[in-house]
Subunit: 431 residues, 2 copies
């Protein structure tokens, strides 16, 4: 940040955040968004729904900041105190804002309900405040300048907050005067951990330009790599870093921005005009669900089979009873037959199958919890791999479903490289 | 909180939390843990790795609290400032603690490495501080009483923090004198919004005991209702409130604790020794995935069918081409045939089917985005319902998958009441 960077503080409100019942991810969203514009957050304060404490805090924050972003407390219930608090700090009353009322009423009308008192409470805002439109929810945002500080009040529902951030930024710009916008470039990866990625970058001995900040966000199943420049004058350096990372991590990079594995697979299928079917045991429908979360997925995905019992693997997918008896459900021959069955029954071009032991029970000495077989391919060729990925049940399902999609992605791209997680997590006896 | 409740504040440190690259879940973990002991957190402050700001903040927090828990900044790198800051606030120097050094050295030895300067930095702690053992990581916790306030410094690694919390609580108890443990009772609901629930409670004119705190946590798909007492002397009042809520919301309550719809459905199936099959279009495997996230779900769930295209509804589930042509895929006759097909092909006792328009595309004037048909039943009887739930795609999928499970729950319980979301969201032409 430059020397005269504005002081921005956040006030997060809500008993559910204070008690830990809800993990606050909104402040991270705001900080990331501001970071992408080259702005930093100096301090965050979190308080429960206590009017006296909130008022004292907001008063103090406004006196010490150029901008305060308040998050939460815009809802219809008695716990939602933000309008009242801001009015008290500004020394004004609450008054009904016509445009806020119109917004609430039309929001209710679109849902076929009549706005009740609780809904209409959301139109009672500090006198003289400016509305920040909420394109999604019933509660508008609002802002007021107090003690020379711009106080912007935003909704606690993450999707509504996200939708409001561009307008918040524009309002901040108007209040602060212009600042140099930065830029963030994101790359999505699968199968790389943060420490491994850092080690690979360090080992490569790159002449990393100091104006490009390297960040990681480890998630499940994907890890995001972030390249931030605080000034767009450094876009060329950012591009250099991007190319360097593509060289280092190549086939582990799914795409840029927020690309998910499912989006990438569906895009590759669309390029070929092809379809994919799923045959799932241990992931229990999660691969299908990841695919169908993507709008328009019906073009590339027509059918999925969740065959959770041996009998269903046989009757629904035509896996032979002999194969099941000889090798068990978690085996290479069974996932191969699951792929063939899914191809035949769905008339899809490609299929992917998984069968494994998600735990916590069901493991044996030979096949401990975390053992899984994957198969993927088309009518001509079916590929397989056995892994052991012994983690907690839902994380196992998430990572294995993603690995299945990653196999399809690699197949569709014609990649013949071994992903790193194969080397690390292969079953002892596999292949 | 009672009048003489201790004031507990949290100080969260770290640039990665400040920038939003890491979402802080540690403070939620601490607050939940304390909440279960009947203790509340009054305020949380989050700061980056800025020594001057951290020192000023800790000074102020210590002067205004009985206990301050600091999280983060115990690690081996130059960014890890907590020991230095606490020493400065206490007006003491940093000194090597023999037991902390022994801990670091044996931690390194177990990993076959020699402790280097960075590791050993973790043994340099404020003079006179007490060690809080870290059973997992290399950095011990430590505490010191400053201005009459107990300042406890804890590690930022979640697993290490979790392992340290019992000792932190014991130390707090020693500092504060004994405190009365409270109790939290949670009820899980589906199909109720927060404002509706509050309205119903208000309208009931209950003589609500003031010692029972009522809280809501609106999630997707479930909403949690929380009854907190700060003293176990009030457990009877808490029980009274629980019974009152059961009477008011009865059939909308799924269970207590953290019960999910999928867990409840599987438990009800287990009571009958029965099985359920799923036939999904718009939810794309999500119902199956919700079920199979539950350990042991293989007892009650054997097969799921994701029939995303018309052709698959016909070939996989045997929905007649004529029905599809006459009524369209999103129609009552089609979901009825999907249920019958799923029952026949899986030999399950019950089945549930959904077909709808998740959007953002695919809506028509007659069947706008959000239109969905659900069917559920057994070989004897199939029930249906048409809804219109026009929300963002993944939220739609989440809510409809949950509604499908809720229908099965109600059927298995023999409930013949109408859930509230039926009344609010029925399709105009449905039934």
């Amino acid at each position: 940040m430059s020397g005269n960077a504005p002081i921005i503080q956040l006030l997060l409100t809500g008993n559910e955040i204070m008690s830990g019942d809800t993990v606050d991810s909104n402040s991270a969203m705001i900080a990331q968004w501001l970071g992408e514009q080259g702005l930093g957050v100096a301090r965050k304060v979190t308080l429960g729904d206590d009017p006296a404490a909130l008022q004292a805090e907001l008063e103090q924050l406004a006196r010490g900041s150029d901008v305060v972003i308040v998050n939460g407390g815009l809802g219809p219930t008695v716990d939602d105190l933000t309008a009242e608090i801001l009015a008290a700090v500004a020394g004004v009353g609450l008054t009904e804002h016509a445009s806020a009322r119109t917004h609430v009423e039309s929001w209710c009308a679109r849902r076929g309900i009549i706005a009740n008192d609780a809904n209409l409470k959301q139109a009672l805002l500090p006198a003289g405040c400016e509305i920040v439109p909420n394109p999604i929810g019933s509660a508008v945002g609002f802002q007021l300048t107090v003690h020379g500080c711009l106080v912007v009040c935003t909704p606690g529902v993450p999707g509504e907050l996200r939708a409001m951030l561009p307008q918040v930024l524009a309002n901040m710009e108007q209040h602060l005067g212009s600042f140099t916008p930065g830029d963030v470039l994101r790359l999505q990866t699968f199968g790389l951990g943060e420490s491994t990625a850092q080690q690979i970058i360090a080992d490569a001995g790159l002449d990393w330009p100091p104006e490009v900040e390297l960040g990681f966000r480890a998630g499940a199943p994907q890890m995001e790599i972030k390249l931030t420049v605080r000034d767009r004058a450094h876009l060329a350096a950012q591009g250099w870093c991007r190319d360097a990372l593509l060289t280092l991590f190549g086939d582990h990079i799914i795409g840029d921005g927020g690309t998910t594995l499912a989006q990438r697979v569906l895009a590759l299928l669309a390029e070929q005009g092809a379809t994919l079917a799923t045959a799932e045991s241990c992931t229990g429908g999660l691969i299908a669900s990841m695919l169908t979360q993507v709008p328009g997925s019906s073009a590339g995905f027509h059918a999925g089979f969740v065959t959770y019992s041996n009998a269903m693997k046989a009757s629904v997918l035509g896996v032979s009873e002999d194969t099941l008896a000889a090798h068990g459900a978690v085996s290479e021959p069974v996932v191969v037959e699951m792929v063939r069955g899914a191809l035949a029954r769905s008339a899809s071009d490609y299929a992917v199958a998984v069968s494994g032991i998600a735990g916590p029970d069901g493991g044996t000495e030979d096949k401990p919890v975390g053992t899984v077989w994957l198969a993927w391919g088309d009518a001509q060729q079916v590929h397989t791999r056995g892994l052991c990925w012994p983690v907690e049940r839902t994380l196992f399902q998430t990572m294995i479903a993603a690995a299945g999609l990653d196999m399809v992605r690699r197949m569709l791209l014609g990649l013949d490289t071994e992903p790193r997680y194969f080397k690390q997590r292969s079953q002892k006896h596999a292949r």
